[in-house]
């Protein structure tokens, strides 16, 4: 991509997505309820400030608007605070199945064929996605179809049919999606690592879920999910593009106000995760793996509990990516690794910091040792320079300009932030990032990384492992932690 920038792009891309929903029929011809709250928030950051308008309609649905007349398009995003984190073990993966059922018909469009016809009529480019903490649906279409597009989204989220016959059909589609994931050589390694870190609640970080549960999912389970999380109080509607803010709110109210939550609705309770486990390292071999991947994962900050630490994490990532910096020079620029990054996935209820390196199998031992040693250097006063801090601050501002240059994509990211951190966090993000200093970065490294437990995984091929005398020691761990996934793996191969 020609205009790729790091900073904001990286942070946004590390996240995932959403959903939406509702019930009851649309009240045709009713006068629109009035907006009960309205505020305009300006994010700081020199000329890269963004403006969005946030309002609520009377059923509790938050509406976030970002008008721009740059091109005659609108993007409509429906976001729900839902995903693996709002599931129980018994329904793991079914929020994702629900997300698929969104496209399978509603009170106005009886089945997916009718749904697809309407998509074509309105010239919509669309998709949806589910992650651990967010479900999103997004449509981009010509601005002249805004009213129709809002109605289309409202119908889909508020009156889904969730019919058994359609469920039977879509189940196979989702199973194929599952199998595509299972076809990747890193599938077992990711499942095992997750289980070790999150223990019995690992399913709450696994939106893909378990294959046997998808095979047996019922309509009643989907209806329960609908009533628990796809309600207006748990969702938000985002609209960007070429529209008039004053004219759009009556449209939103007209189409979405009949969408109601069940009486006495309350948010899903979410159990706490276990403490991060003691340090563990394992090697897994899988056929078809080519170069080796080393992944060291630490416990990281949770966005709603320690927002200031998330800023330090994001800033540290940018410093490590700086190509004049010691870290980049030592690993990527020297050729020791093909790619080495630190990543932090901003989440509400979890936080993982990972340092991942891809290298030739013969370099595994050297890279492992170097990575662990290097992390201890990050808190030293001369590891990062003032110039690098200044460069990162400038990069964040410029990167944000480029984000805003693609509003149809940016609005989806905004939906993510609403779901995971809240918009107030996001509104202050650029400003807060500008304030991060060496002391804060050092404090973060000491608090989360130096001397802290980690889970280290090394993935390579059996042939390479044999050639460098490295043993696959994951089998006992798979037996201990992954008996259910093992069954899944066998089932998927039938």
């Amino acid at each position: 991509m020609m205009c790729s920038t790091r900073g904001f792009n990286r942070i946004f891309s590390s996240t995932l997505v959403a959903m939406g929903f509702s019930l009851l029929l649309i009240g045709a011809g009713k006068a629109p309820p009035t907006a009960e709250t309205a505020k305009t928030t300006k994010a700081p950051g020199k000329s890269s400030a963004i403006s969005f308008v946030s309002k609520k309609i009377d059923n509790g649905l938050e509406v976030v608007l970002m008008p721009s007349s740059k091109v005659p398009l609108v993007t409509i995003v429906l976001v729900a605070k839902a995903g693996a984190m709002t599931e129980t073990r018994e329904i793991n993966g079914l929020t994702h199945l629900w997300e698929h059922m969104f496209f399978k018909g509603n009170a106005r469009l009886p089945d997916q064929e009718a749904f697809n016809r309407r998509i074509r009529e309105l010239g919509i480019t669309y998709n949806g996605d589910t992650s651990a903490e967010t479900v999103r649906y997004y449509f981009t279409m010509p601005a002249v179809h805004l009213d129709d597009g809002l109605q289309f989204m409202a119908d889909a989220i508020s009156t889904p049919l969730l019919e058994q016959t359609e469920l039977e059909k879509e189940r196979h589609v989702v199973l194929d999606e599952y199998d595509r994931n299972a076809s990747h050589p890193s599938f077992d390694m990711r499942n095992l690592s997750r289980r070790i870190i999150y223990g019995d609640l690992d399913y709450r970080r696994d939106p893909l879920g378990q294959r046997p549960l998808i095979e047996k999912a019922t309509r009643e389970q989907l209806l329960r999910i609908r009533d628990e999380v796809f309600v207006p109080q748990n969702c938000a509607l985002f609209v960007s593009g070429d529209f008039d803010v004053e004219k759009i709110m009556p449209m939103v109210a007209k189409h979405f106000s009949a969408w109601k939550a069940p009486k006495d609705w309350t948010p899903v309770k979410r159990p706490e995760f276990q403490p991060f486990p003691p340090t563990i390292e394992f090697v897994m071999t899988r056929p078809l793996v080519r170069d080796a991947t080393i992944d060291i994962t630490f416990d990281g900050p949770k966005a709603r509990q320690s927002p200031e630490d998330t800023f330090a994490a994001d800033f540290l990532i940018n410093l490590l990516e700086h190509r004049s910096g010691k870290f980049y020079k030592k690993f990527d620029d020297s050729g020791l690794t093909f790619e080495t990054d630190m990543s932090y996935h901003t989440q509400s209820e979890a936080g993982e910091i990972s340092v991942v390196a891809k290298t030739k199998p013969e370099n595994i031992a050297k890279v492992r040792e170097a990575l662990l040693a290097e992390i201890n250097e990050w808190a030293k006063p001369d590891y990062f320079t003032k110039t690098q801090f200044d460069d990162v601050r400038r990069r964040l501002i410029i990167g944000h300009k480029f984000e805003l240059n693609q509003l149809s994509s940016f609005i989806k990211s905004l939906g993510f932030w609403w779901s995971v951190t809240g918009l107030d966090y996001y509104a202050g993000y650029l400003n807060d990032m500008q304030k991060v200093d060496l002391k804060q970065v050092q404090g973060f490294v000491k608090k989360y990384l130096i001397g802290k437990p980690y889970v280290m995984t090394t993935l390579l091929s059996p042939e390479d492992a044999k050639a460098i005398n490295l043993e696959d020691n994951s089998k006992p761990l798979v037996e201990k932690y992954l008996s259910d996934y093992k069954k899944v793996s066998q089932a998927s191969l039938k």
Binding site: C3, E113, D176, R205
Partner: protein
């Protein structure tokens, strides 16, 4: 972990993969109740676009985005892997990958320092028919960005340490080709679609072997031949004053010499029923299937209509295979338009027999069914959205303009594509389906014990050209 519902739109037909091939465009909604691509809109875009020439003949196109402080500059070089002899084709990718590493006056450390300090996004890439270098920045840093890009383009250093680092990264990428089934199935089918010696053929094993033999001297010679004013075009999308922009570009690129060089003509892949099917045994739970076939080139009179044909085919495959029969999460078709056109259909599925049979049913429908004009108009609507999405960012607009310039010599083709699409009718879609959806080469990845060759061969034999 990312779990994304990928609809058939995940592999849209308008993705024209590598380099600067013509990208997204959209249809007019002239005949539809609500029109968004009006004559006024097209006229406005044309008015904001100007064509110029540097003193050495390099064509420069400027597109003004008033009020924007972002700037995107893209340079195309006519020539790609197609133009390089077999056994050396990786040279193109290696050279363009190594160019941004360092240049005269800009050692690697200096390049890093500047790109970090000014947040410059600078890339070069070797394509199939055209290669490119580009930079995106804010206008404030133009005076830093342009000299750096100029040096990278005109005087790359190709230091041994730099080019070996790029080579190692390329080799890692090539080795990993086999790891991702979706990526690898493309190579499986390419083995038979592009036979040995074909100008478009790229194979990861062959590329790895080529890289071992190529040296710095090869890079220097390649660059010398590539830097040719008669084969370069520049597009700048910005709000910069035109006079200053052109003066700066003249100073930067106006002295590049010009010489004639004839491109290698594009070839359709000769079809042989004996080499139309390739299978790769792999213990995975879902089969990956991809079929490839010849399609109209980007400059063909059928180019626009065939885009719509592929869009309709993709919709029909999705409706039949995913929506009605629930056989696949990802089923798609797309067209690639270069001087040679390529079509593809594919799917992942745990029921390959049924899926291949359903693909055949859809192809049969495309060839025999008479779509109504209303159906056709509905399929055109999505192009309107794509048309403006192309114009949303400076970089994507610069890339699309270069695609239009490279293949048509003007930007009108891009801007007026909605009008060309207006004219496509149902009879043309049917004619093109019969013309294009033939002589398929099919690649499959799945466990050997679970797949019968005849399933794929049926699709091939039932769609031979008459």
């Amino acid at each position: 972990m990312k779990v994304m519902k990928v609809t058939k739109y995940a592999l849209p037909f308008f993705i024209l993969t590598s380099g600067l091939a013509v990208t997204t465009w959209a249809a007019s909604l002239h005949a539809a109740p609500k029109s968004i691509v009006s004559d006024e809109s097209i006229a406005k875009q044309k008015a904001l676009t100007k064509s110029h020439k540097l003193s050495n003949g390099i064509q420069v196109t400027t597109r003004s985005i008033p009020g924007s402080d972002i700037l995107a500059l893209a340079i195309s070089f006519e020539g790609g892997q197609r133009d390089i002899p077999t056994g050396r084709k990786s040279l193109n990718r290696w050279a363009f990958g190594a160019m941004p590493m360092a240049a005269a006056g800009y050692p690697r450390a200096k390049v890093h320092e500047l790109t970090e300090k000014y947040s410059l996004a600078m890339t070069c890439g070797g394509g199939i028919e055209y290669s490119n270098c580009s930079i995106s920045t804010v206008s404030e840093y133009w005076s830093i960005a342009l000299p750096l890009l100029t040096a990278i383009v005109t005087k790359p250093e190709f230091a041994e340490a730099d080019i070996n680092l790029v080579k190692d990264r390329m080799k890692a990428q090539l080795r990993n080709t086999t790891q991702e089934p979706e990526q690898y199935v493309n190579e499986v089918v390419n083995r038979i679609y592009y036979p040995a010696g074909h100008p478009y053929r790229l194979n990861h094993d062959e590329s790895l072997a080529e890289l071992e033999k190529l040296s710095r001297t090869d890079l220097v010679d390649f660059h010398k031949n590539t830097l040719n004013a008669s084969r370069m075009r520049i597009v700048v999308v910005s709000s910069m004053p035109e006079k200053k922009l052109l003066a700066d570009l003249e100073k930067a690129f106006g002295k590049i010499k010009s010489s004639k060089a004839e491109p290698i003509p594009a070839l359709d892949a000769a079809f042989s029923i004996d080499q139309s099917y390739a299978f790769e045994d792999r213990d995975i739970p879902t089969a990956y299937i991809r079929a490839k076939f010849d399609a109209p080139s980007v400059t063909s009179k059928d180019a626009v209509a065939s885009r719509l044909m592929f869009e309709i085919l993709s919709e029909e495959l999705g409706d039949e295979i995913r929506t009605k029969r629930s056989l696949s999460y990802s089923v798609y078709s797309f067209g690639l338009q270069y001087s040679k056109g390529i079509g593809a259909i594919g799917a992942s599925t745990s029921k390959p027999e049924e899926t291949l049979s359903a693909m055949n049913d859809v192809i049969k429908k495309m060839k025999t069914h008479s779509f109504s004009e209303d159906d056709i108009n509905q399929h055109k609507n999505g192009f309107s959205t794509a048309y403006y999405l192309t114009q949303e960012t400076h970089a994507s607009l610069a890339e699309a303009l270069l695609g239009s310039l490279n293949y048509y010599g003007n930007t009108d083709y891009l801007y007026e594509l909605p009008r060309a699409l207006d004219k496509v009718n149902a009879a043309e879609i049917k004619r093109l389906a019969n013309q294009i959806l033939v002589n398929m080469r099919v690649g499959v990845i799945f466990p050997r014990s679970k797949f019968k060759d005849e399933w794929a061969k049926n699709l091939i034999s039932q769609n031979l050209a008459k």
